[in-house]
């Protein structure tokens, strides 16, 4: 059994604090300059409740606790998410996003980790799963 883990084991819970600078930094790093991620007036004009975090930013940091846990053990073979709810990032208080990483399935040479990502008590990603192989 890889890493001695069993289905349902929780390996980590981490909270990431986002602020507007986080969104501008991600826009620059990724090249996604959609203004709904940094301009309140544009977000309001298209009917959004506020400036939103990039979905790909959330996907990007949600897997980091797993990357830290694994170190050099195993190789990420597959990672997928559905974007189900937006994260509104307040200009003053930002947004706190919590990631819990649990074991979803254990195979002979692979583990599926399930990520539960919540903001304001609601999940923001659906079916967030990372498959790690041990070859």
């Amino acid at each position: 059994m890889p890493l001695g883990l069993s289905v349902g084991d929780s390996i980590d819970t981490t909270t990431v604090h986002l602020d507007r600078v986080s969104l501008v930094r991600y826009a620059g790093a990724s090249g996604d300059f959609n203004p709904i991620h940094f301009r309140d007036d544009v977000a309001a004009a298209v009917g959004l409740p506020g400036v939103l975090a990039h979905g790909m930013l959330t996907m990007g940091f949600a897997v980091q606790p797993l990357m830290n846990y694994l170190g050099a053990r195993g190789r990420l073979a597959d990672y997928g998410v559905r974007f189900t709810r937006p994260i509104v990032v307040d200009p003053d208080s930002g947004a706190d996003v919590t990631i819990e990483t649990k074991v979803g399935a254990v195979m002979d040479d692979a583990i599926r980790f399930d990520l539960t990502v919540t903001f304001n008590g609601e999940t923001v990603l659906g079916k967030a799963q990372a498959q790690v192989v041990f070859d």
Partner: protein, 148 residues
């Protein structure tokens, strides 16, 4: 106006090669809160057997974006970018991307579905390295919201 269903099966010309730069990887790593030193520290990455700093798992989106722009600007696609929402995203990896990789990406539309006035366009961006070996496939579903 719905997305053109005849897009299914359409393959676009290869994009690249995209040279993965060490400082770009570091910049992206900071942006996604990647704190494992393999993502920023060459010595740490080499100690784990990598040629250079490792790109975080979602880094291929940077290259995928260039291929999706081909799709969005396709004259007969009927995709209004202001109505596009990212529905889901998946990466299937043969190996991690590392600084120094030269990635060539080829996009193919694999599905167009219309549901309740919205269109869902799924495409796969297959990325290979300078030797032609597969590195990662980025699979993305864009939801194009219907009028009203």
């Amino acid at each position: 106006m719905t997305v053109n269903p005849e897009l299914v099966g359409r393959a676009f010309p290869p994009v690249g090669p995209y040279l993965v730069g060490r400082e770009k990887v570091r910049e992206f790593s900071r942006a996604v809160f990647a704190t494992n030193p393999i993502f920023t520290d060459v010595v740490a990455a080499r100690a784990e057997g990598f040629a250079d700093v490792v790109a975080p798992p979602t880094f291929p989106v940077v290259v995928q974006e260039h291929t999706l722009n081909q799709l969005l600007s396709e004259p007969d696609a009927n995709i209004d970018f202001s109505r596009v929402v990212h529905g889901d995203q998946r990466f299937h990896y043969s190996r991690p991307v590392v600084a120094g990789d030269e990635l060539t990406a080829t996009l193919e539309v694999t599905s167009v579905k219309t549901l309740g006035g919205h269109s869902m366009v799924t495409s796969e961006s297959v990325m290979t390295d300078a030797t032609g070996a597969h590195v990662v496939t980025a699979i993305s579903t864009l939801v194009v919201r219907g009028d009203g």
